[in-house]
Symmetry: C2
Subunit: 457 residues, 2 copies
């Protein structure tokens, strides 16, 4: 009954585990903003110290961006690599936060205790479920489970520019028999899930320039081209009236869902109305002939993530701006080639430019979608372990978010990945007031112990 002993140890020492997580959450490791560079390094050093104390052979590994953390604990059995990321999203708009995003606290809410802070759910709370599982295991067994490597990244929220080179340079060291990734959510509040399909992501930033400088709209308005107007036309052209994306070749290679997957998804009884209602919406906004679950799991999208140009402060300024900017991203599904879509997008934008306008592009990542091989018995073992912990059948699901690491593990290291996470839909990741339920943290740690008990060693 050593499994039960470990689980009990987790229950008894939960306050200490929470305190460690709060320490990590206090470090503002926003990877996309150069102002937080040192904070990212600090988070990496904090993790190296924790893992070293736990008995891993852990090191901070420099890159041209933020450092990686790699830790090994060799042992018997299948070599398992765990992946998480210690960097977090920016916090703006800061005014919508109820507290300092980097002064974490446990809050009582009507739905239970939550850990409130940027990164609480995505991904510091999640990665710590695995580290705390290792800690509890070791405190009972006297040694870490099986043959483990822990691999933590600090650029996941900023396009992972160093990830592929690092994996290529350290392929032998990082190649394991199976990867575990903890950066996803539960399917429902109490129903665990293993993600078997992930959308890819293509990010594009564009700047359209018209006049050589900002102009007075009275002196030049009417005669001079306004780049905001040009940008608006481009964005408006990307979808047709039925919600389909208009880029030539965009849907090339996109497969319809296999009937058995569609049937399993239907059996999940996904509550569309609640999913949209939780964020103030009633009407699915995507392709009109698709279900919302398809829209977010198995259909590609195009979104404007940011737009700016001209005067955006208080009051009014009658400027005719010289430039307009947008950040646009595409979520991709299996069969789509990110680079072909980037080329199609750029050609489409060029084709819509009027005289006197030019465009500059800046790519922000391009990753293919992933489709997991679930014939590996570890999938069924993990499903059983999760079902045991949560008391409801764990589901094989899709995921609308892009976790390019899963694709890289497959293409660079030839390694399958199992994505298990404990976030809830209302965690407000990437938004103000992000939180992670204390219950998810607690049961997440317990879940990993159960999974490791079945697949490690």
């Amino acid at each position: 009954m050593s499994l039960e002993t470990v689980l009990t140890r987790i229950d008894e020492t939960l306050p200490d585990a929470v305190a460690r997580l709060l320490d990590l959450l206090r470090i503002p490791s926003i990877s996309t903003d150069p102002a937080y560079r040192e904070s990212c390094a600090e988070a990496a050093r904090w993790l190296v110290r924790e893992l070293t104390d736990l008995g891993f052979s852990a090191a901070l590994r420099p890159t041209s961006g933020h450092p990686m953390v790699v830790a090994h604990a060799p042992g018997a059995g299948r070599h398992i690599l765990f992946y998480g990321h210690y960097d977090v999203q920016p916090v703006d708009p800061l005014s919508l936060w109820d507290r300092d995003p980097f002064a974490p606290q446990i809050e009582d809410t009507p739905r239970g205790k939550v850990i409130r802070a940027r990164g609480a759910s995505d991904d510091k709370g999640q990665l710590m479920t695995f580290i705390e599982a290792c800690r509890a295991w070791k405190s009972v067994h006297g040694q870490l489970p099986g043959n483990l490597t822990i691999f933590l990244e600090g650029e996941e929220e900023s396009g992972s520019p160093s990830l592929v080179p690092f994996m290529q340079e350290n392929a032998a060291e990082l190649t394991a028999d199976l990867a575990l990734i903890c950066d996803t959510g539960l399917f429902a509040d109490d129903q665990p899930a293993i993600v078997t399909m992930l959308r890819g992501l293509l990010g594009e930033e564009l700047t359209i320039t018209g006049p050589s400088k900002d102009l007075h709209s009275g002196m030049y308005g009417g005669a001079a081209i306004n780049p905001v107007r040009v940008l608006a036309r481009i964005i408006a052209s990307l979808h047709d009236d039925t919600g389909r994306i208009t880029l030539p070749g965009f849907y090339e290679g996109v497969q319809e869902l296999p009937e058995q997957v569609r049937a399993q998804w239907q059996a999940l009884a996904f509550d569309h109305a609640r999913f949209l209602g939780d964020v103030g919406l009633t009407t699915p906004a995507g392709e009109q002939d698709r279900t919302p679950l398809e829209m977010i799991w198995s259909r590609p999208t195009c979104e404007v993530n940011g737009i700016w140009g001209g005067y955006t402060g208080d009051g009014f300024k009658t400027v005719l701006p010289a430039q307009a900017h947008a950040k646009i991203s595409f979520r991709l599904v299996p069969g789509q080639d990110p680079l072909a879509i980037r080329a199609s997008f750029r050609a489409h934008v060029q084709s819509l430019l009027p005289p006197d306008c030019r465009v500059e592009f800046h790519g922000h990542g391009a990753s293919r979608a992933s489709l997991m091989e679930i014939s590996d018995p570890a999938f069924d073992a993990a499903r059983a372990a999760l079902t045991e912990e949560w008391g409801r059948l764990a589901a094989f699901v899709g995921c609308g978010g892009s976790i390019p690491i899963a694709g890289h593990f497959k293409t660079i290291l030839g390694m399958d990945a199992m994505l298990i996470g404990f976030g809830r839909d209302d965690d407000q990741i990437h938004s103000p007031n992000e939180k992670y339920d204390l219950e998810c943290f607690h049961k997440g740690i317990r879940s990993w112990v159960r999974v490791l008990d079945r697949i490690a060693g």
Copy 2:
């Protein structure tokens, strides 16, 4: 030959006049930004001191916004009111300025000496031409010219919210026989102009809200409506492919130019290619069947002055924003009713909102266009005076900018206005590195003395 004596006095004391202007330019009186409220008051106090020293009965007059400055110097003859504004535009993007916008300096340039600072041309340099003309006049004649009132506003760059109430409350005090307004430019580098037609201005700010909070584009992308996409469709819908504005009723009441005005404008031999070339453009972007001079003087326009939404910082953030914002303005021509166009715009926006989106509007000013009665002999007198000073025939011209004060003088005080100014096209008003040519300042002072010599007293 007292006129010549005054002109000589101006030439001899120019350095002192420049020094006073630099003092005024050091005050960062940005009216649209609440952070500069005290600086606006400081500029008003500075002007009251100057005018009092000159012998005016001058006072700072509080409003619910920035104060007015009103100064009287009663005397014989026709009562003339001079108008200018002491507030300035914001300075962003500050990074494009070669110097601190509020640390004015005289710079040598290939085209002569310039006074470089925010407000140098618009409108502090221009209003000081008149005050310095009064100073030179008084120093020679021992008294101020004729029967003068000076009326200076501090909210011209922010929609003049206090102007109409103030004029209504002080109508008897402010009503003169003729208004002079110095806030316009020369027609060509050495050809003076009197503006007889001014476009009106309607400002609208709109915020489109979709989801109740910013969302993760992976979790919700495809299913949740993106308000930036909605805003882009709205902006793209405002013009058709020929550059015409599509709002229902927009062109109602718009008159074609009288043939004699069109002929006079053609005689001006406006250099379209240079006008556009100066700002990096080659192709007029307005209605395809209009000349560029019509586009900027006698045709209405719709411009996006600012747009923002989602993540606009460094790097990439895969947010699906809850809101998108734009500042949009319309330049109006004689015959258009600003309030009817506001209603048409708002109804058009509402008609394009998809389910789950709502819009909030915030109006920023609504002023009709103005058409001057040039039968008043003062127009010919001023034209002769300007022609004498500059050595080229002064032109009666249109102006694309909106100077609502001219319309208010007519509708509230029943007073005609003569708009004379000395700005040049390359003054970069409302843009970084604004300047005013020292020659314009100098000859502007001399011009006013010549005009006053013919029409005052």
